[in-house]
């Protein structure tokens, strides 16, 4: 239990990475790192596909600086997300080479995406008390 709090619609309740949500509640976006072979995972996982060890992961805060690789403005949504359109979905890459698929903050305008703007992955509290993350502009300085 625990993961049902993640995302506008959650399809998963039980997972070994449920603490991810607890960290998110504390304002932290965490990855996992295999203590055996050093491989980093984001999204996090507890089983290492590289060295096949299980439950030997440590939680590690990510370097929170992202650049958009590609995006789309979605005018069409799956059932349950209709009220959100239009929304921007994007793939972003972090300064340490991790990738994320997520939404952009509603405050970001499409024109801004043409530049080399930097973003941070930030926890967002939804009206019903659930929690998710989105990319928000990274303030310079």
């Amino acid at each position: 239990m625990g993961f049902e709090k993640f995302g506008k619609i959650s399809y998963i309740r039980e997972t070994k990475v449920a603490p991810f949500v607890d960290y998110l509640e504390q304002g932290k976006v965490m990855a996992t790192r295999c203590r055996s072979c050093g491989k980093m995972y984001f999204p996090p996982r507890m089983d290492c596909e590289q060295c096949m060890t299980s439950d030997n992961m440590e939680w590690k805060e990510i370097v929170n600086e992202w650049k958009i690789l590609t995006y789309t403005v979605s005018e069409f949504a799956p059932t349950g997300f209709e009220d959100d359109v239009p929304y921007i979905l994007a793939i972003a890459e972090s300064a340490e080479g991790l990738r994320v698929f997520t939404r952009l903050s509603k405050d970001v305008k499409e024109e801004q995406l043409q530049s080399d703007m930097k973003f941070k992955l930030a926890p967002v509290r939804l009206p019903d008390g659930k929690i998710t993350y989105e990319l928000q502009p990274l303030e310079e300085g």
Partner: protein
């Protein structure tokens, strides 16, 4: 080791709403394939039933379908690789024959997407991505391919006009295919001004849900030569998979699973891309056809847009592609699509394609993709 040939093909018309049951739908395609090769149901030694089960009310559809087709007590198996289910069925039928377990196998693909309300269908589409890390953000099929389209445009300068050219070409051939759902030619202007679904993809950049069924009957060389004078041989098969999660994809300018499947298939067939006379590619979206040209080696990466714009993938070009309307023109009844692609290539290689016949077609290729570049199958055929 015995070779394997396609001896019979059949397909229903692809329509918005078929008005019959999935059993009745499959019967029509199966009957046409049997008549194509003069076989009776009792001569089919095994069947593979291919679809995406989330659209069905019937649990374990294979059982219901084979009963209705008169295929008891022969063994049957249900095959699911989403939109690539049909060609995965052909790949497995090939293995059943090659192994010597069976000599004649029927692959039946179907989908009755009208069985669900659009709300139900959209709910299922939302779960077509990784339900843990992708679906909670509202990912759809068009949005997934739109991410590839934007990256292709950014990396290679591919334009929305070039993508629109793919739909213009498809519609031109769909009107000559009586089994295609779209029976109207559309102009470049119409595609470009259609409403945005998920930018940069617009309404006419997307294939549509449809109802339909297809059937491909395969046989061992010995049986094939007795059954027909025009066997079409399967000479290359490649198959690969890609991470489901969008974050774990390594490329957004092409489909890795298609590149790998093509490499395997060309190697097995002992041919090069330039040897392909006619191809069916998985154009679920216009950008998907442009990436297919590149991933199959019909042109260099980044040149796919130019290839269609220059007319090279039209019926008289160097690489005729989707000369039956493709998914964009025929409609895309998920489980039936792969078998429909195989049927088109078989008809082309037999010289039976009528007004859509490509000249001197001896080697044909099918490229069938499941999900957002998740599963890739490439099949090569020779007459």
């Amino acid at each position: 080791m015995s070779e394997v040939a396609v001896v019979g093909v059949g397909q229903t018309a692809f329509t918005r709403s078929c008005g019959v049951t999935i059993k009745e739908l499959c019967f029509e395609a199966f009957k046409e394939a049997l008549e194509d090769c003069n076989l009776y149901p009792k001569e089919i030694e095994a069947s593979l039933i291919c679809s995406a089960p989330e659209y069905d009310k019937q649990r374990s559809p294979a059982g219901a379908i084979v009963e209705y087709l008169g295929l008891n007590p022969q063994p049957t198996t249900y095959v699911e690789n989403i939109c690539a289910s049909g060609t995965t069925g052909v790949r497995l039928a090939y293995s059943l024959i090659k192994s010597g377990l069976h000599d004649i196998v029927a692959v039946i693909g179907f989908q009755k997407m009208s069985e669900l309300t659009s709300r139900e269908a959209q709910e299922r589409m939302g779960r077509g991505a990784d339900i843990m890390w992708d679906s909670p953000f509202g990912l759809t099929m068009p949005a997934g391919y739109a991410l590839y389209a934007r990256m292709h445009m950014k990396t290679y300068g591919t334009t929305e006009e070039q993508m629109a050219e793919v739909k213009v070409k498809s519609s031109k051939y769909a009107v000559l295919n009586p089994k295609a759902m779209f029976q109207r030619e559309v102009s470049l202007e119409e595609v470009l001004t259609s409403r945005v679904i998920s930018s940069p993809l617009k309404f006419y950049d997307c294939s549509a849900n449809a109802d339909g069924a297809s059937c491909v009957i395969l046989a061992s060389a010995e049986k094939a030569r007795k059954i027909t004078d025009t066997p079409v041989w399967i000479v290359g098969i490649g198959s690969a998979s890609e991470p489901l999660s969008m974050a774990n994809r390594t490329s957004f300018v092409g489909l890795n699973c298609a590149v790998e499947a093509a490499r395997q298939a060309y190697k097995m067939a002992g041919i090069e891309p330039k040897d392909v006379d006619v191809a069916e590619v998985h154009d679920c979206f216009t950008i998907a056809e442009i990436m297919a040209y590149e991933n199959l080696g019909f042109c260099n990466p980044g040149e796919g847009g130019k290839l269609v714009q220059e007319g090279q993938t039209y019926i008289d070009g160097d690489f005729p592609v989707n000369i039956d309307g493709g998914l964009l023109g025929k409609g895309h009844p998920i489980g039936a699509t792969g078998g429909s692609q195989v049927r088109t290539i078989v008809m082309q290689l037999r010289g039976d394609a009528g007004r859509l016949q490509v000249k001197r077609a001896e080697i044909g290729l099918v490229h069938n993709i499941g999900g957002i570049g998740l599963y890739g199958n490439v099949l090569i055929f020779r007459r």
